[in-house]
Amino acid sequence: MQALSEWFTELLADNTIFTAQTLGYYGSGLVTTVQLVFLSLIIGLVLAVPLAIGRSSQRRWIRTPIFLYTYVFRGTPLLIQLYLIYYGVVFFDGIQETWLWVLLEEPFVPALIAFTLNTAAYTTEIFRGAIKATPRGEIEAARAYGMSRRLMMRRIILPSAFRRALPAYGNEVIFMLHASAIASVVTIMDLTGAARFIYARYYAPFDAFLFVAAIYLCLTFAILYLFRYLEKRLLAHLKPLEQ
């Protein structure tokens, strides 16, 4: 342990950029990125379930507004959505005087709102596709056994749709991680924000950005393996046994 820490100190002593202080910036950037991505994914997921059910509804007045929402949020760049909410909040007359300002003053909250709305739109469509792909026979069996619509949704359609959605949702999680880099545009010190700060300070683009790229790469692989593990466990029922 002693040797390791000595080795580490020496390594840091050799360069001017990766000091304990800059590593601290990266560290807190990592925390911000993870918070932002994790929170928006969780809230987005909770929103997406009822939205996906509504999106699959036979009633047009339920289906159409949800479709418009997902169409607009999936069809426009996240950056625009971020700007819209960030500037929209800042330039909203009178908001500075209300209690909401305590929350909205930090760019974190507008960014969280934008990311959440964005991922909720994508996740809604992922779930809708999975709901639509429920085998007809399984729904028919549920009807034939006297299940009401609500019960069928809860017991048959959603549990099997969630499993089917898993691979696509894994991609969405990675997409959100990568998309979160634009939080730095509205002055949030996330991972990319930290890298930009360090670049500006030392004018060392390779050190600053390659390092952060490596961190993102590791995070991406961690998510990838997590989902592979989940798929293995939760999609086991679809694989025939080896004879």
């Binding site: 085998p135 026979g137 399984e138 028919e140 069996a141 549920a142 009807r143 034939a144 056994y145 006297g146 299940m147 009401s148 019960l151 017991r155 048959i156 549990p159 099997s160 499993r163 086991a236 029922h237 679809l238 694989k239 025939p240 046994l241």
Partner: protein
């Protein structure tokens, strides 16, 4: 009318898909313990008829009585629909269907499939349902497959599992929609054996099938359907051994 109501009675069912009339006024009375077999060429309407009995298809006209209770209908913009879906749900719980393609729920183990509707539709306790389910799986010879997922079983096993699922509802009438048509020939025998046992036990069954030997040996009544009407009906010995119409003779003739 008999003192005890019939498990299932169907009167004058018609069904149209667009312009084509596939069922032209079909009726059927199932007494307790009856095994009624529906035979006929593909396109004769026999499966549609069966699916009208638990309203998986909505008949355009006709009446439907389950255990003496008549299903109420109303006219809407989209045609005739059940007036009270709760009544339909109640009625479906009394008729359980076995499908051609099994339709076991893929994300549940076999045991979970069998207890699903008893627990969540009939409101049985889970413990009781599991006990009953295990006994039923034993009966259909799948006791050792309780924790398998449908994709991990052969077609014949899946279909026997589906029959256990149907039995778990303690149904008044069991509806079988070509239960052996999707199976490899060597797997048909096990499924038919389970069905014969059920018939011997006095279950009320309505079976759409191509298995003539089964129809002859097991059924109390055979209905031959052609183009949406019952062309001949009666005890199997009468219908299958001394067919009157030329069409039925041809239908029954050994195929090469």
């Amino acid at each position: 009318m008999a003192a005890t109501p019939l498990p299932l009675e169907v009167r004058n069912i018609t069904k149209r898909f667009g312009e084509t009339e596939v069922l032209k006024g079909l009726s059927l009375q199932a007494h307790k313990g009856d095994v009624i077999t529906l035979i006929g060429a593909s396109g004769s309407g026999k499966s549609t008829f069966l699916r009208c009995m638990n309203l998986l298809e909505q008949p355009n006209e006709g009446e439907l009585l389950v255990h003496g209770e008549e299903i109420q209908f109303k006219q809407t913009r989209h045609g005739r629909e059940p007036a009270d879906w709760n009544q339909v749900v109640r009625m479906r719980a009394k008729l359980s269907m076995v499908f051609q393609s099994f339709n076991l729920w893929a994300h549940m183990t076999l045991l979970e499939n069998v207890i699903e509707a008893p627990v969540h539709v009939l409101g049985k306790s889970k413990k009781e349902a599991i006990e009953h389910a295990r006994a039923l799986l034993e009966r259909v010879g799948l006791a050792d497959r309780a924790d398998y997922y449908p994709a991990q079983m052969s077609g014949g096993q899946q279909q026997r599992g589906a029959i256990a699922r149907a039995l778990a509802m303690d149904p008044e009438v069991m509806l079988f929609d070509e239960p052996t048509s999707a199976l490899d020939p060597e797997l048909v025998g096990d499924v038919l054996k389970v069905m014969r046992d059920l018939a011997d036990e006095g279950r009320t069954m309505i079976v759409v099938t191509h298995e003539m030997a089964f129809a002859r040996d097991v059924s109390t009544q055979v209905l031959y359907l052609h183009q949406g009407i019952v062309e001949e009906a009666g005890p199997p010995a009468e219908v299958l051994d001394t067919p009157r119409s030329e069409r039925l003779k041809q239908f029954l003739a050994p195929k090469h």
